[in-house]
Symmetry: C2
Subunit: 453 residues, 2 copies
């Protein structure tokens, strides 16, 4: 059904003209709401929509542009919010019967910061249960028989349909990059801790990240930057390079290609498409090496392979609170099977096991940092192929999970098309070097003939 | 009114006899509930009490001791919970009209861990508004015209009256140690991050600590240890030395006495009492040095003096979320003047100011660690003197704020009496060396003739 879809809508591009009197936030919002009206009955990206409040906020932004005083680069930008992120004016329901109709007392820190910057909060998007359990009803806009990916399912689908230029998501394993990759839009998960996660339902504090799914790299960056400027991450500070101006496209000199366990899950067409992409990157004069030529990369890949299952142990162990309490309090019918399975896994772990998994993560973080110090980033797939058929599952998390595990910044870029469906390319950078990675992502998405489409 | 007060009740001492058939958790609870009945009308330590649920839990514990299978050293221990810590079966109201009647969906991580260990959650204790704003109605059990200290006001008063052997508190500046010091009981604030703070209303993530107020050092330690064993702190792990057996009393070889800005706030009687205490410690053969003999200590004291105001900047800046949102959403009448004042302070700070305060804290943490590596801990007062008169304020936070600022473990020990009122001695240890500090605190509280009372 892609032929009937509008292109993802960039707010950053449109707003450049607002100050010159061409277009307004209100008119931009109406375009978004029209896309919602056209597509959301079949796609089901939204669980709550507040068009009235959004129009009011867009009108206020329109007045600010008219007087030449927009509050920020996202003033008037329609943004959708994954439904595990708190909003005080709309229910926050986690796709869990436990939270049906629940209303928190304040907005999440990120939502509060975006409203401060003038952004227009349009509504809440479908998440899988607590961002890890049962799938929601959202469909992939490219083929409604396929999953949009999860857990930020609605956020990715809404951006892909032009319902919003940007949406907030969260990632503990693959929940921002994977749906972005399956839906043909940009996913950005900054360094662990770089964005304030206050007001977001916790899964695993060592692996939870707030991220942005958007029409372009610039839109994703500007939303993340405004969250950071508005609300420092406690104890960490600000996203590096978070200013009013996004990083300028910059061609890297060297990238290291990662295979990871994800490569064993790919199909022949996806392999061929990614190999061809790497050839195009090389043809631009970029040195792309991998485990085949680099002993240190080979060693990291071997460690990854050996230790990857430990990441799920970490997540499961940290999920004991509050999920064991939910299970005891509300009963097994109120908690989905995937979550109960993870709690089972956690019960088999000892405190010493948990400490060992933390130590392993720390060791791998140091190994990855050493390797990243001598290149412009890691490059790999963001998903193992086009979105699989069926809505009961949300696809493999393997490819995007490494950056979540180690807390490294990562982008999924819509650069590949395999059998008419989008597949994301993943860029992973040094911890804290988010703006450098963004500059590379900018270069990749704006350089002609890199994309396969 | 002290003469009519029962002694603080130790659960650890009483429970040693349970297994031998002398006493039961139910009988112990009834002793506590009788103290509540006798004192709480005037003291007002509790905001919510659930005697029925507590009796049911105590009966279950009684059955476990009868079959020789208590769940943990705190099985059957009555515990009160400060009302900014979530409980799913009782309202959690933060002493704020915004949260009147509010019920969270799960217990806080610490409460869930304690219930797992068999502890009996008796009720919720009075906090100042969000643990930093308007004072509550609680009175000091030693003199009801005086403040019990805050913000864990009800927790300290309840322990002092024998209403519970232990209560949970939180500390961002002085909120565990100060009320413990004013009420003549033990306060223990572990290393920053050592205990899971999930389900506790946030003030300042860099300075918020979960702590325990208890009748004895052993009671405080066992409660903290069971929280840690039951729920790892995400990304940090477990409280060092958290086992079933509390650390054994151990005499330190050397302590460094800190003066800090707190010393300028003391009265002559308190100075004399503390000087005499230091003499008694020295008479035990312990080397107690200070800025007068130690250049590195003098340098740290100078840095403390210069930078202390920066700690309040850190707290205020981090409070912007969610308090700016509360203020905008519910109006100034719903947010107390102290909190509004801190938000004003935060508005005057730039992102660069915040980063500078974080860097200063980090620098002081390294300087303190270097000094602590060559002694058994810092020793100083936990409060500037006996609790001041009046309930509208909760006394000076200066003495206890340093350990909160740097995240160091600290105890307040009820070792001084000044004009018939309790004053706490503060012990501060190395980050992560909580059990070593506990061994010193054990030694100090169990060694004859160290206390002035």
């Amino acid at each position: 059904m892609r032929h009937s879809l509008p292109e993802p809508l960039s707010f950053v591009r449109a707003s450049a003209a607002f100050s010159a009197g061409r277009g307004t936030p209100r008119a931009f919002l109406e375009q978004c709401l029209a896309a919602v009206k056209r597509h959301d009955k079949s796609i089901q990206a939204f669980v709550t929509l507040d068009a009235r409040a959004a129009r009011k906020a867009a009108d206020a932004a329109t007045r600010r542009y008219k007087t030449g005083r927009p509050l920020s680069p996202v003033d008037g930008c329609p943004i959708a919010v994954k439904d595990i992120i708190a909003t005080a004016d709309m229910p926050t329901q986690m796709n869990s019967p436990i939270y049906k109709g629940w209303r928190p007392k304040s907005d999440a820190a990120a939502v509060a910061a975006l409203r401060q910057a003038g952004a227009v909060i349009v509504g809440k998007t479908v998440t899988t249960e607590f961002a890890i359990g049962r799938s929601g009803p959202t469909k992939n806009p490219w083929d409604t028989t396929r999953t949009p990916g999860g857990s930020s399912s609605g956020s990715a689908a809404a951006v892909a349909c032009g319902m919003v230029p940007a949406a907030l998501g969260t990632q503990t394993q693959g929940s921002v990059l994977r749906p972005a990759a399956y839906c043909g839009v940009v996913g950005f998960k900054p360094t662990h801790g770089a964005l304030h996660t206050g007001g977001i339902h916790l899964l695993s504090a060592t692996s939870d990240h707030l991220g942005v799914i958007a029409a372009t790299v610039e839109d994703a960056w500007q939303v993340a930057a405004q969250i950071s400027i508005g609300t420092a991450s406690p104890g960490v500070g600000f996203l590096a390079g978070a200013t009013e101006t996004p990083p300028v496209a910059h061609q890297p000199r060297k990238l290291i290609r990662l295979f990871t366990r994800g490569w064993t899950e790919t199909d022949a067409d996806t392999r061929a498409a990614f190999d061809a992409f790497i050839d195009r990157v090389k043809s631009r004069g970029i040195d792309v090496t991998s485990r085949d030529e680099d002993a240190e990369a080979a060693e990291l890949e071997a460690h990854f392979e050996k230790e990857l299952d430990g990441h799920l142990d970490l997540i499961a162990y940290e999920m004991r609170w509050p999920f064991e309490d939910y299970l005891a309090r509300y009963g097994p019918k109120m908690v989905g099977p995937r979550i109960r399975e993870l709690l089972e896994r956690a019960r088999a772990l000892t405190p010493r096991d948990y400490e060992a998994r933390l130590a392993t993560r720390h060791r791998l973080q140091r190994a990855a940092a050493a390797l990243l110090a001598r290149c412009g980033g890691f490059i790999t797939l963001a998903c193992s192929g086009p979105a699989p058929r069926g809505l009961a599952q949300t696809g493999s998390r393997t490819f995007p999970s490494y950056a979540s595990w180690l807390g490294l910044p990562a982008f999924s870029l819509p650069l590949l098309e395999v059998n008419g469906l989008p597949v994301g390319v993943q860029l992973i950078g040094r911890a804290g070097a988010d703006s450098t990675l963004c500059a590379t992502a900018q270069w990749m998405t704006t350089t002609a003939r890199l994309a396969s489409a």
